[in-house]
Protein backbone atom coordinates (compact mmCIF):
# COMPACT_ATOMS: atom_id res chain seq x y z
CA UNK A 1 0.00 0.00 0.00
CA UNK A 2 1.37 3.38 -0.90
CA UNK A 3 2.26 5.60 2.02
CA UNK A 4 0.26 8.77 1.76
CA UNK A 5 0.44 11.60 4.26
CA UNK A 6 -3.27 11.18 4.72
CA UNK A 7 -3.05 7.66 5.99
CA UNK A 8 -0.03 7.62 8.33
CA UNK A 9 0.75 8.81 11.81
CA UNK A 10 3.80 8.66 14.07
CA UNK A 11 2.75 7.56 17.51
CA UNK A 12 4.96 7.84 20.56
CA UNK A 13 5.02 4.37 22.11
CA UNK A 14 7.64 4.84 24.80
CA UNK A 15 9.84 7.48 26.42
CA UNK A 16 13.17 6.28 27.82
CA UNK A 17 14.30 8.39 30.75
CA UNK A 18 17.36 8.18 32.90
CA UNK A 19 20.18 10.15 31.32
CA UNK A 20 21.20 13.09 33.49
CA UNK A 21 22.27 15.25 30.56
CA UNK A 22 21.42 15.57 26.88
CA UNK A 23 21.12 12.36 24.86
CA UNK A 24 23.48 12.80 21.92
CA UNK A 25 23.20 9.51 20.08
CA UNK A 26 21.62 6.11 19.89
CA UNK A 27 22.05 2.84 18.03
CA UNK A 28 19.82 -0.19 17.59
CA UNK A 29 21.59 -3.54 17.95
CA UNK A 30 21.39 -5.18 14.48
CA UNK A 31 21.49 -8.70 15.97
CA UNK A 32 20.00 -8.52 19.46
CA UNK A 33 19.50 -12.28 19.62
CA UNK A 34 23.29 -12.57 19.94
CA UNK A 35 23.06 -10.66 23.20
CA UNK A 36 20.93 -12.76 25.41
CA UNK A 37 17.99 -13.32 23.14
CA UNK A 38 16.42 -9.89 23.42
CA UNK A 39 14.06 -9.06 20.60
CA UNK A 40 15.23 -5.47 20.60
CA UNK A 41 18.16 -3.69 22.10
CA UNK A 42 19.27 -0.11 21.96
CA UNK A 43 22.30 1.83 23.19
CA UNK A 44 22.10 5.53 24.00
CA UNK A 45 24.95 7.88 24.87
CA UNK A 46 24.94 11.14 26.73
CA UNK A 47 26.57 14.28 28.04
CA UNK A 48 26.37 12.57 31.44
CA UNK A 49 29.42 10.50 30.28
CA UNK A 50 27.49 7.23 30.30
CA UNK A 51 26.02 4.82 27.81
CA UNK A 52 22.72 3.12 28.64
CA UNK A 53 21.70 -0.23 27.23
CA UNK A 54 17.96 -0.77 26.86
CA UNK A 55 16.46 -4.18 26.23
CA UNK A 56 12.98 -5.30 25.28
CA UNK A 57 11.45 -7.06 28.23
CA UNK A 58 8.46 -9.37 28.54
CA UNK A 59 6.15 -6.36 28.72
CA UNK A 60 7.26 -5.41 25.22
CA UNK A 61 8.81 -2.25 26.64
CA UNK A 62 12.46 -1.27 26.61
CA UNK A 63 14.03 -1.33 30.07
CA UNK A 64 17.46 -0.08 31.01
CA UNK A 65 19.47 -3.25 31.62
CA UNK A 66 22.97 -1.77 31.98
CA UNK A 67 24.74 1.54 32.43
CA UNK A 68 28.25 1.73 31.04
CA UNK A 69 29.95 4.24 33.26
CA UNK A 70 33.30 5.16 34.84
CA UNK A 71 35.07 4.72 31.54
CA UNK A 72 34.67 7.86 29.53
CA UNK A 73 35.68 11.02 31.34
CA UNK A 74 33.68 13.38 29.15
CA UNK A 75 30.56 13.45 26.99
CA UNK A 76 29.92 10.26 25.03
CA UNK A 77 28.94 11.60 21.64
CA UNK A 78 28.20 8.57 19.52
CA UNK A 79 27.81 4.79 19.70
CA UNK A 80 27.68 2.01 17.13
CA UNK A 81 27.12 -1.74 17.22
CA UNK A 82 29.25 -4.21 15.29
CA UNK A 83 27.35 -6.15 12.56
CA UNK A 84 27.34 -9.29 14.76
CA UNK A 85 25.78 -7.30 17.58
CA UNK A 86 28.25 -8.44 20.21
CA UNK A 87 30.40 -5.32 20.30
CA UNK A 88 29.56 -1.70 20.97
CA UNK A 89 31.91 1.15 20.12
CA UNK A 90 31.49 4.44 22.02
CA UNK A 91 33.12 7.68 20.91
CA UNK A 92 33.81 10.41 23.44
CA UNK A 93 34.91 14.03 23.85
CA UNK A 94 37.69 12.57 26.03
CA UNK A 95 39.38 11.76 22.66
CA UNK A 96 39.04 8.00 23.03
CA UNK A 97 36.78 5.35 21.52
CA UNK A 98 35.93 2.44 23.80
CA UNK A 99 35.05 -1.03 22.57
CA UNK A 100 32.63 -2.98 24.74
CA UNK A 101 32.01 -6.71 24.42
CA UNK A 102 28.90 -8.54 25.49
CA UNK A 103 30.13 -11.18 27.93
CA UNK A 104 27.70 -13.28 29.96
CA UNK A 105 24.91 -10.76 30.32
CA UNK A 106 27.15 -7.78 30.84
CA UNK A 107 29.36 -5.46 28.85
CA UNK A 108 33.10 -5.31 29.38
CA UNK A 109 35.40 -2.67 28.00
CA UNK A 110 37.89 -4.76 26.01
CA UNK A 111 39.76 -2.05 24.14
CA UNK A 112 40.33 1.69 24.05
CA UNK A 113 41.26 3.31 20.76
CA UNK A 114 43.49 6.31 21.30
CA UNK A 115 45.16 8.69 18.94
CA UNK A 116 42.81 11.53 18.16
CA UNK A 117 44.08 14.84 19.51
CA UNK A 118 40.75 15.99 20.78
CA UNK A 119 37.02 15.18 20.83
CA UNK A 120 35.94 12.10 18.87
CA UNK A 121 32.60 12.85 17.25
CA UNK A 122 31.54 9.61 15.57
CA UNK A 123 32.32 5.92 15.18
CA UNK A 124 31.10 3.43 12.56
CA UNK A 125 31.63 -0.29 11.83
CA UNK A 126 31.91 -1.54 8.26
CA UNK A 127 29.31 -4.17 7.33
CA UNK A 128 32.14 -6.54 6.42
CA UNK A 129 33.10 -6.35 10.09
CA UNK A 130 36.70 -5.69 9.07
CA UNK A 131 36.93 -1.99 9.79
CA UNK A 132 35.97 0.71 12.20
CA UNK A 133 36.25 4.41 11.46
CA UNK A 134 36.34 7.39 13.82
CA UNK A 135 36.49 11.13 13.26
CA UNK A 136 37.32 14.12 15.39
CA UNK A 137 37.57 17.87 15.84
CA UNK A 138 41.24 17.33 15.00
CA UNK A 139 40.02 17.26 11.35
CA UNK A 140 41.08 13.68 10.73
CA UNK A 141 39.35 10.40 10.04
CA UNK A 142 41.00 7.26 11.37
CA UNK A 143 40.47 3.77 10.00
CA UNK A 144 41.02 0.81 12.29
CA UNK A 145 41.28 -2.80 11.30
CA UNK A 146 39.68 -5.37 13.56
CA UNK A 147 42.14 -8.10 14.54
CA UNK A 148 41.57 -11.34 16.42
CA UNK A 149 41.78 -11.16 20.19
CA UNK A 150 40.00 -7.81 20.46
CA UNK A 151 42.90 -5.96 18.89
CA UNK A 152 42.44 -2.88 16.74
CA UNK A 153 45.16 -1.57 14.48
CA UNK A 154 45.09 1.88 13.03
CA UNK A 155 45.61 1.46 9.28
CA UNK A 156 45.03 5.01 8.12
CA UNK A 157 44.90 8.59 9.36
CA UNK A 158 43.01 10.49 6.72
CA UNK A 159 43.64 14.18 6.35
CA UNK A 160 41.73 16.38 3.99
CA UNK A 161 38.98 18.10 5.88
CA UNK A 162 39.92 21.63 6.85
CA UNK A 163 37.75 21.59 9.95
CA UNK A 164 36.05 19.49 12.61
CA UNK A 165 34.69 16.20 11.19
CA UNK A 166 31.18 15.60 12.50
CA UNK A 167 30.29 12.10 11.36
CA UNK A 168 31.61 9.07 9.51
CA UNK A 169 29.55 6.30 7.95
CA UNK A 170 30.51 3.17 6.03
CA UNK A 171 28.63 2.22 2.88
CA UNK A 172 26.27 -0.68 3.70
CA UNK A 173 27.72 -3.04 1.08
CA UNK A 174 31.28 -2.07 0.15
CA UNK A 175 34.20 -0.77 2.17
CA UNK A 176 33.80 2.84 1.14
CA UNK A 177 33.67 5.50 3.86
CA UNK A 178 31.93 8.86 3.92
CA UNK A 179 32.79 11.73 6.26
CA UNK A 180 30.95 15.02 6.76
CA UNK A 181 32.33 18.17 8.27
CA UNK A 182 32.12 21.65 9.78
CA UNK A 183 33.98 22.68 6.60
CA UNK A 184 30.63 22.18 4.79
CA UNK A 185 31.91 19.31 2.68
CA UNK A 186 31.30 15.59 2.26
CA UNK A 187 34.28 13.35 1.51
CA UNK A 188 34.33 9.85 0.11
CA UNK A 189 37.25 7.60 1.01
CA UNK A 190 38.24 4.28 -0.54
CA UNK A 191 41.16 1.90 -0.54
CA UNK A 192 43.43 1.89 -3.55
CA UNK A 193 43.13 -1.61 -5.03
CA UNK A 194 46.90 -2.18 -5.30
CA UNK A 195 48.50 -0.38 -2.42
CA UNK A 196 45.91 -0.72 0.37
CA UNK A 197 46.27 3.00 0.71
CA UNK A 198 43.19 4.91 1.71
CA UNK A 199 42.56 8.19 -0.03
CA UNK A 200 39.83 10.66 -0.77
CA UNK A 201 38.16 9.70 -4.05
CA UNK A 202 35.63 12.49 -4.07
CA UNK A 203 34.70 15.72 -2.30
CA UNK A 204 31.13 17.00 -2.49
CA UNK A 205 31.12 20.66 -1.57
CA UNK A 206 29.17 23.78 -2.45
CA UNK A 207 30.39 23.56 -6.05
CA UNK A 208 28.88 20.10 -6.44
CA UNK A 209 25.47 21.31 -5.26
CA UNK A 210 26.55 20.51 -1.76
CA UNK A 211 25.80 22.13 1.55
CA UNK A 212 26.54 25.74 2.45
CA UNK A 213 27.11 25.19 6.14
CA UNK A 214 28.21 22.46 8.56
CA UNK A 215 27.13 18.99 7.48
CA UNK A 216 26.03 17.08 10.57
CA UNK A 217 25.03 13.64 9.38
CA UNK A 218 25.07 11.11 6.58
CA UNK A 219 23.10 7.90 6.04
CA UNK A 220 22.69 5.39 3.21
CA UNK A 221 19.58 3.57 2.14
CA UNK A 222 19.70 -0.21 2.52
CA UNK A 223 20.63 -0.90 -1.09
CA UNK A 224 23.50 1.60 -0.97
CA UNK A 225 22.53 3.48 -4.10
CA UNK A 226 21.33 6.57 -2.23
CA UNK A 227 22.72 8.70 0.54
CA UNK A 228 21.13 11.51 2.57
CA UNK A 229 23.04 14.29 4.33
CA UNK A 230 21.69 16.87 6.76
CA UNK A 231 23.09 20.28 7.53
CA UNK A 232 23.13 23.52 9.47
CA UNK A 233 22.06 25.12 6.17
CA UNK A 234 18.58 23.78 7.00
CA UNK A 235 18.47 21.33 4.10
CA UNK A 236 18.64 17.62 3.52
CA UNK A 237 20.35 16.49 0.36
CA UNK A 238 19.90 13.20 -1.45
CA UNK A 239 22.80 11.82 -3.46
CA UNK A 240 23.05 9.12 -6.11
CA UNK A 241 25.74 6.72 -4.87
CA UNK A 242 24.97 3.83 -7.21
CA UNK A 243 28.48 3.81 -8.67
CA UNK A 244 29.75 2.44 -5.36
CA UNK A 245 28.13 -0.88 -6.15
CA UNK A 246 28.55 -1.00 -9.90
CA UNK A 247 32.16 0.10 -9.76
CA UNK A 248 34.75 -2.59 -9.13
CA UNK A 249 37.82 -0.39 -8.73
CA UNK A 250 38.47 3.16 -7.66
CA UNK A 251 40.31 4.30 -10.79
CA UNK A 252 37.67 5.87 -13.00
CA UNK A 253 35.52 6.17 -9.90
CA UNK A 254 32.20 7.35 -11.29
CA UNK A 255 31.22 10.39 -9.29
CA UNK A 256 28.43 10.42 -6.85
CA UNK A 257 26.04 13.17 -7.70
CA UNK A 258 23.43 15.40 -6.17
CA UNK A 259 19.85 14.29 -6.84
CA UNK A 260 17.58 16.39 -4.73
CA UNK A 261 17.55 19.06 -1.99
CA UNK A 262 14.79 19.13 0.64
CA UNK A 263 14.43 22.60 2.08
CA UNK A 264 11.85 24.54 4.04
CA UNK A 265 10.92 21.65 6.35
CA UNK A 266 13.07 22.51 9.33
CA UNK A 267 13.71 25.96 10.78
CA UNK A 268 16.92 25.09 12.62
CA UNK A 269 20.00 22.92 12.18
CA UNK A 270 19.13 19.40 11.03
CA UNK A 271 21.32 17.22 13.25
CA UNK A 272 20.37 13.81 11.98
CA UNK A 273 18.79 11.87 9.13
CA UNK A 274 18.32 8.11 8.71
CA UNK A 275 16.92 5.82 6.04
CA UNK A 276 14.58 2.94 6.90
CA UNK A 277 14.81 -0.39 5.10
CA UNK A 278 11.50 0.55 3.52
CA UNK A 279 12.95 3.74 2.06
CA UNK A 280 11.52 6.31 4.45
CA UNK A 281 13.90 9.10 5.45
CA UNK A 282 13.53 10.41 9.01
CA UNK A 283 15.10 13.71 10.04
CA UNK A 284 15.49 15.37 13.45
CA UNK A 285 16.45 18.98 14.05
CA UNK A 286 17.04 21.85 16.44
CA UNK A 287 13.45 22.96 15.91
CA UNK A 288 12.38 19.94 18.03
CA UNK A 289 10.61 18.45 15.01
CA UNK A 290 10.78 15.06 13.32
CA UNK A 291 10.08 14.78 9.59
CA UNK A 292 9.53 11.77 7.39
CA UNK A 293 10.11 11.78 3.63
CA UNK A 294 9.47 9.25 0.89
CA UNK A 295 10.42 9.08 -2.74
CA UNK A 296 7.77 10.41 -5.07
CA UNK A 297 6.10 7.48 -6.80
CA UNK A 298 8.82 5.15 -5.55
CA UNK A 299 9.54 4.00 -9.06
CA UNK A 300 13.27 3.71 -9.61
CA UNK A 301 12.79 3.44 -13.35
CA UNK A 302 11.74 7.09 -13.59
CA UNK A 303 13.05 9.02 -16.55
CA UNK A 304 13.20 12.31 -14.65
CA UNK A 305 15.25 12.92 -11.51
CA UNK A 306 13.72 11.21 -8.51
CA UNK A 307 12.12 13.56 -6.07
CA UNK A 308 11.11 13.25 -2.48
CA UNK A 309 8.11 14.55 -0.63
CA UNK A 310 7.20 15.12 2.99
CA UNK A 311 5.19 12.22 4.37
CA UNK A 312 4.74 13.61 7.87
CA UNK A 313 6.02 16.31 10.23
CA UNK A 314 5.88 15.87 13.98
CA UNK A 315 6.29 19.29 15.61
CA UNK A 316 7.42 19.32 19.22
CA UNK A 317 8.39 15.65 18.98
CA UNK A 318 10.67 16.50 21.91
CA UNK A 319 10.88 19.51 24.26
CA UNK A 320 14.31 20.36 22.94
CA UNK A 321 16.67 19.75 20.02
CA UNK A 322 16.66 16.32 18.42
CA UNK A 323 20.23 15.06 18.04
CA UNK A 324 19.78 11.66 16.52
CA UNK A 325 17.12 9.60 14.72
CA UNK A 326 17.43 5.88 13.98
CA UNK A 327 15.11 3.34 12.44
CA UNK A 328 15.00 -0.11 14.02
CA UNK A 329 16.66 -2.46 11.51
CA UNK A 330 14.51 -5.35 12.74
CA UNK A 331 11.18 -3.54 12.64
CA UNK A 332 11.01 -1.04 9.83
CA UNK A 333 8.14 0.96 11.29
CA UNK A 334 9.85 1.69 14.59
CA UNK A 335 11.92 4.85 14.98
CA UNK A 336 13.96 6.14 17.92
CA UNK A 337 14.99 9.74 18.58
CA UNK A 338 17.47 11.18 21.10
CA UNK A 339 17.16 14.72 22.42
CA UNK A 340 18.77 17.52 24.41
CA UNK A 341 15.91 16.93 26.87
CA UNK A 342 17.79 13.78 27.97
CA UNK A 343 15.19 11.35 26.70
CA UNK A 344 14.96 8.80 23.93
CA UNK A 345 11.55 8.39 22.38
CA UNK A 346 10.34 5.33 20.54
CA UNK A 347 7.86 5.96 17.73
CA UNK A 348 5.71 3.70 15.65
CA UNK A 349 4.70 4.64 12.14
CA UNK A 350 1.11 3.54 11.83
CA UNK A 351 -1.28 3.47 8.98
CA UNK A 352 -4.59 4.87 10.01
CA UNK A 353 -7.81 4.12 8.19
Amino acid sequence: MELLDSNVDLKEVQKLQGHADRAWGLAWNPAPHNCGGASAMLASCSGDKTVRIWQMGPTHQLDCSTILEDTHTRTVRSCAWSPCGKFLATASFDSTTAIWKYVGGDFECVATLEGHENEVKSVTWSSSGTFLATCSRDKTVWIWEVQPGDEYDCVAVLQGHSQDVKMVQWHPLVDVLVSVSYDNSIKVWAEDGDSDDWHCVQTLNEGSSGHTSTVWSVAFNSSGDRMVTSSDDLTLKIWDTSSAISQTDTEGFASWRHLCTLSGYHGRTIFSAHWSSEGIIASGAGDDALCLFVEENGNSMQVEEPSYRLLLKKEKAHDMDINSVRWNPKDQRILASASDDGTIKIWELREIS
Partner: protein, 208 residues
Protein backbone atom coordinates in the same frame (compact mmCIF):
# COMPACT_ATOMS: atom_id res chain seq x y z
CA UNK B 1 41.86 30.35 12.05
CA UNK B 2 40.18 28.09 14.51
CA UNK B 3 39.42 30.56 17.22
CA UNK B 4 38.44 28.20 20.00
CA UNK B 5 41.51 26.07 19.26
CA UNK B 6 43.71 29.17 19.48
CA UNK B 7 41.96 30.20 22.63
CA UNK B 8 42.61 26.86 24.22
CA UNK B 9 46.28 27.26 23.39
CA UNK B 10 46.40 30.63 25.11
CA UNK B 11 44.42 29.40 28.03
CA UNK B 12 46.30 26.16 28.53
CA UNK B 13 49.71 27.81 28.16
CA UNK B 14 51.12 24.70 26.62
CA UNK B 15 52.34 23.44 23.28
CA UNK B 16 49.53 21.47 21.84
CA UNK B 17 50.93 18.77 19.54
CA UNK B 18 50.03 20.18 16.15
CA UNK B 19 48.60 18.06 13.43
CA UNK B 20 51.23 17.28 10.77
CA UNK B 21 49.16 18.57 7.90
CA UNK B 22 48.47 21.89 9.52
CA UNK B 23 51.81 22.57 11.16
CA UNK B 24 53.32 24.86 8.50
CA UNK B 25 50.25 27.06 8.37
CA UNK B 26 49.37 27.26 12.02
CA UNK B 27 52.90 27.57 13.39
CA UNK B 28 53.65 30.37 10.96
CA UNK B 29 50.42 32.09 11.82
CA UNK B 30 50.90 31.63 15.53
CA UNK B 31 54.46 32.95 15.40
CA UNK B 32 53.40 36.02 13.46
CA UNK B 33 50.46 36.64 15.76
CA UNK B 34 52.59 36.24 18.84
CA UNK B 35 55.09 38.76 17.48
CA UNK B 36 52.34 41.26 16.72
CA UNK B 37 50.80 40.63 20.11
CA UNK B 38 54.09 41.19 21.93
CA UNK B 39 54.67 44.43 20.06
CA UNK B 40 51.21 45.71 20.82
CA UNK B 41 51.41 44.70 24.43
CA UNK B 42 54.73 46.43 24.82
CA UNK B 43 53.53 49.66 23.35
CA UNK B 44 50.01 49.66 24.75
CA UNK B 45 50.24 47.52 27.83
CA UNK B 46 47.08 45.73 26.75
CA UNK B 47 45.47 44.95 23.42
CA UNK B 48 42.87 47.56 24.11
CA UNK B 49 44.49 49.66 26.77
CA UNK B 50 41.98 52.47 26.66
CA UNK B 51 38.52 51.05 26.20
CA UNK B 52 35.71 53.51 26.13
CA UNK B 53 33.82 53.08 29.37
CA UNK B 54 30.27 54.21 29.82
CA UNK B 55 28.15 54.92 32.80
CA UNK B 56 26.19 51.95 34.01
CA UNK B 57 22.55 52.74 33.34
CA UNK B 58 20.57 53.06 36.55
CA UNK B 59 18.66 49.88 37.28
CA UNK B 60 14.97 50.74 37.45
CA UNK B 61 13.79 50.02 40.94
CA UNK B 62 11.03 47.48 41.00
CA UNK B 63 8.64 46.72 43.79
CA UNK B 64 9.44 43.04 44.16
CA UNK B 65 13.23 43.02 43.91
CA UNK B 66 14.32 40.10 46.10
CA UNK B 67 17.50 40.27 48.19
CA UNK B 68 20.83 39.33 46.68
CA UNK B 69 21.41 35.65 45.96
CA UNK B 70 24.16 33.80 44.10
CA UNK B 71 22.32 33.25 40.82
CA UNK B 72 20.38 36.40 40.04
CA UNK B 73 17.21 35.61 38.18
CA UNK B 74 15.46 37.88 35.79
CA UNK B 75 12.52 39.78 37.20
CA UNK B 76 9.72 39.79 34.70
CA UNK B 77 7.95 43.07 34.24
CA UNK B 78 4.68 43.64 36.05
CA UNK B 79 2.87 42.54 32.91
CA UNK B 80 4.65 39.15 33.28
CA UNK B 81 5.97 39.00 29.75
CA UNK B 82 9.61 38.10 29.33
CA UNK B 83 11.21 40.82 27.26
CA UNK B 84 14.54 42.14 26.10
CA UNK B 85 15.12 44.09 29.30
CA UNK B 86 14.78 40.92 31.37
CA UNK B 87 17.36 39.22 29.21
CA UNK B 88 19.56 42.30 29.29
CA UNK B 89 19.36 42.42 33.08
CA UNK B 90 20.75 38.90 33.26
CA UNK B 91 23.77 39.67 31.09
CA UNK B 92 24.51 43.38 31.43
CA UNK B 93 26.85 42.92 34.40
CA UNK B 94 28.98 40.16 32.96
CA UNK B 95 32.53 41.33 33.31
CA UNK B 96 34.63 41.70 30.20
CA UNK B 97 37.41 39.06 30.15
CA UNK B 98 40.11 41.70 29.69
CA UNK B 99 38.94 44.75 31.57
CA UNK B 100 37.40 45.34 34.99
CA UNK B 101 34.20 46.67 33.50
CA UNK B 102 30.88 45.14 32.57
CA UNK B 103 29.82 44.38 29.03
CA UNK B 104 27.25 47.14 29.34
CA UNK B 105 29.81 49.70 30.45
CA UNK B 106 32.00 48.84 27.48
CA UNK B 107 29.00 49.03 25.12
CA UNK B 108 29.56 45.44 24.12
CA UNK B 109 25.87 44.87 24.85
CA UNK B 110 22.78 46.96 25.04
CA UNK B 111 19.11 46.30 25.51
CA UNK B 112 18.58 47.11 21.84
CA UNK B 113 20.88 44.29 20.81
CA UNK B 114 18.51 41.69 22.22
CA UNK B 115 15.29 40.24 20.85
CA UNK B 116 13.07 37.82 22.71
CA UNK B 117 10.08 35.76 21.69
CA UNK B 118 8.79 34.11 24.83
CA UNK B 119 6.07 32.17 23.08
CA UNK B 120 8.49 30.56 20.64
CA UNK B 121 11.17 30.31 23.29
CA UNK B 122 13.79 32.24 21.34
CA UNK B 123 16.45 34.73 22.37
CA UNK B 124 18.73 36.52 19.94
CA UNK B 125 21.67 38.52 21.14
CA UNK B 126 24.08 40.58 19.14
CA UNK B 127 27.20 41.88 20.79
CA UNK B 128 29.89 44.31 19.71
CA UNK B 129 33.48 43.49 20.67
CA UNK B 130 35.53 46.53 21.68
CA UNK B 131 38.06 46.08 18.86
CA UNK B 132 38.03 44.57 15.36
CA UNK B 133 40.64 41.96 16.20
CA UNK B 134 39.24 40.94 19.53
CA UNK B 135 40.62 37.56 20.52
CA UNK B 136 38.16 37.39 23.39
CA UNK B 137 35.03 37.52 21.24
CA UNK B 138 34.43 33.79 21.62
CA UNK B 139 34.90 33.99 25.39
CA UNK B 140 32.32 36.77 25.59
CA UNK B 141 29.99 34.66 23.46
CA UNK B 142 30.51 31.65 25.75
CA UNK B 143 29.84 33.80 28.82
CA UNK B 144 26.56 34.90 27.29
CA UNK B 145 25.59 31.31 26.53
CA UNK B 146 26.33 30.09 30.04
CA UNK B 147 24.55 33.01 31.72
CA UNK B 148 21.47 32.57 29.58
CA UNK B 149 21.44 28.80 30.18
CA UNK B 150 21.49 29.51 33.90
CA UNK B 151 18.86 32.23 33.80
CA UNK B 152 16.21 30.93 31.45
CA UNK B 153 14.29 27.66 30.98
CA UNK B 154 16.31 24.98 29.15
CA UNK B 155 14.04 24.82 26.13
CA UNK B 156 14.91 28.40 25.14
CA UNK B 157 16.89 28.53 21.92
CA UNK B 158 19.58 31.15 21.89
CA UNK B 159 21.34 32.63 18.89
CA UNK B 160 24.41 34.72 19.55
CA UNK B 161 26.14 36.78 16.91
CA UNK B 162 28.62 39.62 16.76
CA UNK B 163 27.14 42.78 15.31
CA UNK B 164 27.78 42.92 11.57
CA UNK B 165 31.02 44.65 10.66
CA UNK B 166 32.35 44.72 14.20
CA UNK B 167 34.82 41.87 13.91
CA UNK B 168 37.34 40.86 11.30
CA UNK B 169 36.58 37.15 11.52
CA UNK B 170 32.86 37.63 12.16
CA UNK B 171 31.60 34.61 10.20
CA UNK B 172 34.03 32.21 11.84
CA UNK B 173 33.17 33.44 15.33
CA UNK B 174 29.42 33.32 14.69
CA UNK B 175 29.71 29.79 13.35
CA UNK B 176 31.56 28.57 16.44
CA UNK B 177 29.28 30.29 18.90
CA UNK B 178 26.21 28.71 17.32
CA UNK B 179 27.58 25.18 17.03
CA UNK B 180 26.32 23.60 20.23
CA UNK B 181 28.69 20.65 19.99
CA UNK B 182 31.69 23.01 19.82
CA UNK B 183 30.31 25.15 22.62
CA UNK B 184 29.72 22.10 24.84
CA UNK B 185 33.21 20.77 24.21
CA UNK B 186 34.77 24.19 24.87
CA UNK B 187 32.93 24.53 28.19
CA UNK B 188 34.25 21.10 29.21
CA UNK B 189 37.75 22.59 29.06
CA UNK B 190 38.40 23.48 32.72
CA UNK B 191 40.66 26.44 31.99
CA UNK B 192 38.21 28.01 29.59
CA UNK B 193 35.35 27.29 31.98
CA UNK B 194 37.22 29.00 34.76
CA UNK B 195 37.72 32.10 32.67
CA UNK B 196 34.01 32.15 31.85
CA UNK B 197 33.06 31.67 35.50
CA UNK B 198 35.31 34.56 36.53
CA UNK B 199 33.51 36.84 34.08
CA UNK B 200 30.13 35.72 35.34
CA UNK B 201 30.58 35.65 39.08
CA UNK B 202 32.46 38.88 39.49
CA UNK B 203 29.30 40.50 38.18
CA UNK B 204 27.79 39.89 41.61
CA UNK B 205 29.66 42.97 42.73
CA UNK B 206 27.28 45.02 40.65
CA UNK B 207 24.05 43.28 41.56
CA UNK B 208 23.39 45.01 44.83
Amino acid sequence: MFILDRLEEIVNHQNIPLHPASVPFIVHGVEREREKQKEKEMTLGLINANPVVHERRERLSRADDPPHHPYPHPHPHPDDVLDALDVFDSVRDIRDPEHPYSLEQLSVLSEESITVDEKLGRIQITFTPTVQHCSMATVIGLCLRVKLMQSFPPHFKVDIKVSPGSLANEEAVNKQLNDKERVTAALENPNLRQLVDECLYSSELYSY
